[in-house]
């Protein structure tokens, strides 16, 4: 009995330890952050929608779509319908022929079912924007790009959010003693996001007490909500744990 229990404990410990370094495979840099949206498309005889984050974040900050336009942070969770789009909600807020291409005659620009649909345009974007480069994700340092003005994404469409400036950097001690602490800069995040994109849903604001373990982050919680899928991936350890040796 006792032995069985010890084995169980060891097993638990083992899975925790290996999970820490189990980074998900990365798509190519032009495809990083691209999703296929298929909530009701296939069921209605349509191709899934190709959505590339890089094309959109070059022109708009995250808060525009994920705040003002009510897009949720999970693929297929948002109740996007053709009717809603045509009445100016969701995609239709811009894709109306005024800000971006309209619905009529452009079905397969979105409903093409191809994850690599926008890939060929990526190099052109790199060439034109002179973005600072980095290793993983899109291979583009978005954060440095917005700071230097290489990209100037819009921060709102109609209703401007009045957010407070909060520049505080947080020092987050790592679980393992050999790992240097992570530095969390609020400023780099508020350039793209409003407070309510993260608080209190992803991070409540309890000082000490919430532990954002790598295991949880790799499951897609906490930082992992964005930093596995759209924002720079966790392969770049040093960007959060700056004192880390390669």
């Amino acid at each position: 009995m006792m032995r069985g229990f010890i084995v169980l404990l060891l097993l638990l410990a083992a899975t925790e330890a290996t999970a820490n370094f189990n980074l998900p495979p990365l798509p190519s840099r032009e495809e990083y952050g691209t999703i296929l949206i298929n909530r009701t498309s296939t069921a209605n005889g349509q191709q899934p929608v190709n959505f590339s984050h890089w094309q959109h974040r070059a022109k708009f900050t995250c808060r525009v779509c994920h705040g003002e336009l009510d897009f949720l942070m999970k693929t297929n969770a948002t109740e996007i319908t053709e009717r809603a789009n045509r009445s100016g909600k969701f995609c239709g807020a811009c894709h109306n022929g005024k800000i971006a291409f309209r619905h009529n005659g452009n079905c397969d620009k979105c409903h093409n079912g191809e994850i690599g649909y926008s890939n060929s345009k990526f190099d052109g974007f790199l060439f034109k924007s002179a973005m600072p480069m980095t290793l993983a994700g899109n291979g583009v340092n978005w954060s440095a790009g917005i700071a230097s003005g290489a990209v100037k994404p819009q921060t709102y469409l109609k209703r401007k959010s009045e957010d407070m400036t909060f520049d505080k950097e947080l020092l987050l001690e790592a679980e393992m003693s050999i790992i240097p602490p992570a530095i969390f800069p609020h400023k780099a995040h508020t350039a793209w996001l409003d407070c309510d994109n993260c608080h209190p849903d992803l991070f409540n604001i309890k000082k000490k007490g919430t532990h954002f373990s790598m295991t949880e982050i790799l499951k897609g919680n906490y930082c992992g909500v964005c930093h596995l899928t759209v924002a720079f991936p966790m392969d770049e350890c040093k960007r959060c744990h700056p004192a880390m040796r390669e």
Partner: protein, 275 residues
């Protein structure tokens, strides 16, 4: 031995739960649905459709106080224990929805609940007991409600979050006129002078302090809605409010996030410039 194992497993299980808390929103509350309350404490037992109560419909014409103080609705859904007989006697919804009362020169409000009714009256029941079990009918009704909401919201000062309506501005600008007295339920007393606006300090450096305005709140709430139940308010500084508590629905969170503008709109309260 077995018991130790059970206890250990339980502890592991609970720890797992604690870590899994939070996460991305699974559903967005639409502007027309913000502040809506489903009342089903007695409805389901008696076999009728649950009631869908829309705060926005009521707050465009009445203060919060008349319902939550004078008439005595609880501040939590399904805690008032409203029954059809209460409404028929003129309590709760029946205080206004009695087939006789009319406000601001409008038409008489329909009567809520009755023990004798004809087939035609069923339509009246459905005005509140609107959450049909059959999905198409329910959807059709909700779609109709959205249209009514949109038409109203377009006339109002807009903002982000909540109903997408800045109710405070709407009232200030005279776009809505709030009724604060209901015959037979309210008593007129001379009102107390409002305290001057005061600041509430913050624990985290760099976060602007809150400027709290009694004046903005008393328009809707008087004194009794908040004091002493939600805020004892004996001496300034006695209570410590944390955002954790607030997000959990205590203090300001009793209204803000549920009916009043959401607490994630930081700058609505944290307004004092940082020194």
């Amino acid at each position: 031995m077995k018991r130790t194992l059970l206890v250990m497993l339980l502890v592991f299980g609970l720890a797992g739960l604690a870590f899994s808390a939070g996460g991305v929103k699974k559903k967005k509350v639409h502007e027309q649905d913000f502040g809506n309350v489903v009342m089903d404490s007695n409805a389901i037992k008696t076999g009728v459709n649950p009631v869908l109560f829309e705060h926005w419909v009521h707050r465009k014409a009445f203060t919060c106080r008349v319902c939550h103080v004078d008439i005595g609705f609880a501040m939590k859904a399904n805690e008032s224990g409203i029954r059809a007989v209460d409404n028929m006697k003129g309590y709760f919804c029946g205080a206004c929805h009695n087939g006789k009362s009319a406000f601001s020169g409008g038409e008489k409000l329909f009567a809520a609940c009755s023990d004798k009714f004809t087939k035609d009256d069923l339509k009246r029941c459905l005005r509140c007991h609107s959450l049909d079990k059959s999905a198409p009918e329910r959807e059709a009704r909700l779609e109709q409600r959205e249209k009514v909401f949109r038409a109203f919201a377009e006339q109002m000062p807009r903002e982000r979050g909540g109903n997408g309506i800045n109710w405070e501005q709407a009232e200030n600008a005279g776009l809505i006129h709030l009724i604060d007295y209901i015959e037979g339920h309210s008593t007129k007393r001379p009102s107390m002078a409002n305290q001057k606006d005061f600041t509430i300090g913050v624990k985290t450096e760099g976060v602007p302090e809150i400027i709290f305005s009694h004046k903005k709140h008393t328009v809707w709430n008087g004194c009794e809605l908040c004091h002493p139940d939600i805020f004892v308010g004996v001496k300034k500084g006695t209570d410590k409010y944390s955002m954790i508590d607030l997000f959990a629905g205590k203090y300001c969170g009793a209204c803000h996030d549920k009916v009043a503008f959401p607490q994630s709109d930081c700058r609505r309260c944290h307004t004092k410039p940082v020194q």
